[in-house]
Symmetry: C2
C-alpha cells in the first residue's frame, strides 16, 4: 500500500496513537488503513460414499485437486459463501451442513472454514475456475495431487473418522516455521468438543 | 474507495472479466482491490462461576459492557487473537479453550468467534479501551447494558447450558432485515454437533 484509497495522498507506515502495530496512515487526511486476515469458505460435497473434488484451472496450484472453496464475500454468511463457491467452481447445488474444519494459516493471513454438505443432484460440471469436477471414493482420492494442505488435512480427518461418524468440529493451525535452511509446516489439530 | 492504493490513480467500480461482482479496479495499473469480511475474535473468560466483562471506553457502544474481543490481526491465529484482545482490553491472562460461538453479521461484514477461556489469575484491570473490568455471576450480568448482540446471544446460550455443561460449538446468523418501516434483526442458531 502506497497511497490513501480515500484521498490519493501518500501513506506512511507508523503506529497510530493508542495502537501497538504499524498501520498505513494517510499523510493528508489521517485515515488509518487496517489490513486483516481473510476468510476462505468451502464445502466437502458428499454423495453416498463419495466426495466431490475440483481440478483447478487457475493459479495457484493450477491442475491440482481441491474442495470447492474461495474467499468469503461481503454481505454473505459463511454457509452462504461455502454454497456459492461450490456453485461457482463445480456448478453443484448443495445443502450445507455442519462446520467440519477451521484452519488458521497465519503466514498467509487466512482462516479456512470447510463445511460438510449434501450434494442435491449429479448435474455438476466444471465452473470457470475448474478443469474437471468428479466424485471420488476414499481409495480414489489423488492424495499426491491435492492443491492445499487445508484440504489434505481435512480429508485425512474426514476419512479417518468416517466409520465412526464423527460430526464435531476440528480446528487447526498450519504454521510455517523457518528451520535451519527451509520453511517447515507445523500442523496442530484441536478437537472442538467436550 | 476512490484511489488505487498501489499507484494512486482513480479507481472505477466494475465487474472484472471472469468475475460476477463489482470491484474497485484501478484505471491505470489495473489492480483489482477486493474487500472482504473481517473476523472478530474474543473470549468468555471464566473464573469459578463468574465471567469477566469489560465496560467500553470507546465508540461504538461506549459505556456498555462486552466480552473482550476485537479484530483479528495479520500473522496470528484466531486463538492467539482472542488471547491478545483479552490482554489488551482487560490486562487479563487466559488459557484459551474451545470455540463456543461463531456469528455471521453479513450486514456489517463481520464474522465473530468467541472462545471459552480460563482466567489464569485475578490481576486484571481496564486496558486503554475499557472503563471498568469486572467478574459477574449469572444473576449479576447487566443484560440491558450489553454492547453487542453477539455477546448477548453468546451469554444467553452459555448460561442456559451451564448446568448441563454443553461444550459444543454454536453458530448463528444475525441478519438485519428491512420490514415495513424499520430494520429488524433475525437471529438463527445452529448447534454444530452430531
Amino acid at each position: 500500500m502506497n497511497y490513501c484509497s480515500d484521498c490519493g495522498a501518500p501513506v506512511s507506515l507508523l503506529v497510530p496513537p493508542g495502537d501497538n502495530r504499524e498501520r498505513h496512515v494517510c499523510s493528508a487526511c489521517g485515515t488509518i488503513h487496517y489490513q486483516n486476515p481473510k476468510v476462505v469458505v468451502g464445502c466437502i460435497p458428499e454423495w453416498e460414499d463419495k466426495i466431490l473434488l475440483c481440478r483447478r484451472a487457475i493459479q495457484p496450484r493450477q491442475g491440482l485437486w481441491t474442495l470447492p472453496a474461495g474467499f468469503m464475500e461481503r454481505g454473505e454468511t459463511t454457509r452462504e459463501g461455502a454454497a456459492r463457491e461450490t456453485l461457482e467452481e463445480a456448478n453443484a447445488r448443495v445443502e450445507v451442513g455442519q462446520l467440519y474444519s477451521l484452519f488458521n494459516l497465519p503466514h498467509i493471513d487466512q482462516v479456512y472454514m470447510l463445511f460438510r454438505a449434501r450434494l442435491l443432484d449429479l448435474e455438476f460440471s466444471p465452473g470457470e475456475e475448474s478443469l474437471e469436477v468428479a466424485l471420488f471414493e476414499e481409495g480414489e482420492i489423488p492424495w499426491e495431487l491435492l492443491a492445499f494442505q487445508t484440504v489434505r488435512e481435512t480429508l485425512k480427518l474426514y476419512f479417518r473418522d468416517r466409520p465412526g461418524g464423527h460430526r464435531g468440529l476440528y480446528s487447526g493451525d498450519i504454521v510455517r516455521e523457518w528451520g535451519a535452511d527451509e520453511p517447515r509446516v507445523r500442523v496442530t489439530i484441536h478437537e472442538e468438543r467436550g
